[in-house]
């Protein structure tokens, strides 16, 4: 046990060799620990746990799927809002019900309906922004698509030249 005590002292002074540290690891993993050494066991257990930790490759983020799902849910919300506006008894013919109050004034009811429709339009605009950005990317990629056509044409010309 004296040897172990000496190695422990060296270990905490940062003077122990790799071999001595291996002896300590073996000792602390065994079930024959001296009672005075039990206090240090968690330290070596922690090293063991950390040494078994492994790296898992992160899956690529699903940006496009997320964007489409986001835009789709926004569109669905807008459609539901429109259905609620025109399908519910809150908006029937020449009157509207706002916060439980019936408004018979034809113009006011129309104005309210228009403001609601504007809100729906705004929401649609916001939710469709990701789709617009995708469209922009597609448009900017159009010239790249023509490279293939140009290559085909060059090949045709080459073949004609060889034939001649």
């Amino acid at each position: 046990m004296d040897i172990i005590n000496k190695i422990i002292d060296k270990y905490f002074n940062g003077e122990s060799s790799r071999e001595e540290e291996k002896i300590l690891k073996y000792y602390f993993n065994s079930n024959k620990l001296a009672p005075e050494h039990l206090v240090f066991k968690p330290l070596f257990d922690a090293f063991e746990i950390e040494a078994n930790e492994s790296y898992k490759i992160k899956k690529p983020k699903k940006f496009f799927i997320q964007k489409w799902a986001f835009a789709g849910s926004g569109f669905a919300a807008a459609v539901l809002l429109t259905l609620w506006l025109f399908g519910s008894p809150a908006f029937q013919g020449d009157y509207a019900i706002v916060n439980g109050t019936r408004i018979n004034d034809h113009e006011l009811a129309q104005q309210l309906a228009e403001s609601k429709m504007n809100k729906v339009g705004q929401m649609l605009d916001e939710k469709l922004k990701p789709l617009e950005s995708i469209q922009m990317v597609r448009n900017s990629l159009k010239p790249a698509k023509k490279i293939g056509e140009i290559r085909d044409e060059i090949n045709c010309i080459k073949q004609k030249l060889i034939m001649e």
Partner: protein, 172 residues
């Protein structure tokens, strides 16, 4: 360096690099990102890797530098310091929950960056002093001093907690 060589010599060290990154950044996701970024950089510069003598030590050094850059950038942007999300328990409560080993990991995470990096490179990865000296860019003597300080801090905390547990057992 060919694809298979790259996979055999570099990707096999990903576990070690991840553990080092996690120790420095104290955040699993940030550590994964850091390893991915480093692997990408290494792949781009794979032709130059042939000239490296001690590849594992070189990779560990690159990983550490990258993590320190991440921390520096976060500080410059005044973003909140990235940190491990603890469950709110104090080290003493952890002890009571018989989660002693995890408690030690918590103690190590609370050491200064250089000390926690050195203690983990030595005691978890089993690295030689000269390699640790290369990775950290300090002398072997300074490595020994930092290692000793780190181990002694953990030892003192373990003894202190053990006494507190004993006292509580006697009083209850």
């Amino acid at each position: 360096m060919e694809k298979t060589q790259f996979a055999n010599q570099i990707l096999t060290l990903s576990d070690k690099l991840f553990r080092l990154a996690k120790s420095i950044l104290r955040n699993e996701d940030a550590a994964r990102d850091a390893v991915q970024d480093l692997n990408l950089k290494l792949w781009e510069k794979r032709a130059q890797l042939k000239q490296v003598d001690n590849l594992p030590a070189f990779l560990m050094r690159s990983m550490r530098n990258q993590c320190l850059d991440v921390i520096r950038q976060k500080r410059e942007k005044n973003e909140l310091p990235i940190d491990i999300i603890y469950d709110g328990l104090t080290p003493y409560q952890h002890t009571e929950q018989k989660d002693m080993a995890k408690n030690v990991c918590y103690m190590i995470d609370n050491l200064p960056e250089l000390q926690r990096t050195i203690i983990r490179m030595r005691d978890v990865e089993g690295m030689e002093m000269k390699d640790i000296s290369f990775v950290t860019g300090i002398s072997e003597n300074a490595v020994c001093v930092n290692l000793s300080r780190a181990r002694q801090k953990i030892r003192d905390q373990l003894i202190k907690e053990s006494k507190q547990v004993e006292e509580r057992t006697w009083t209850s």
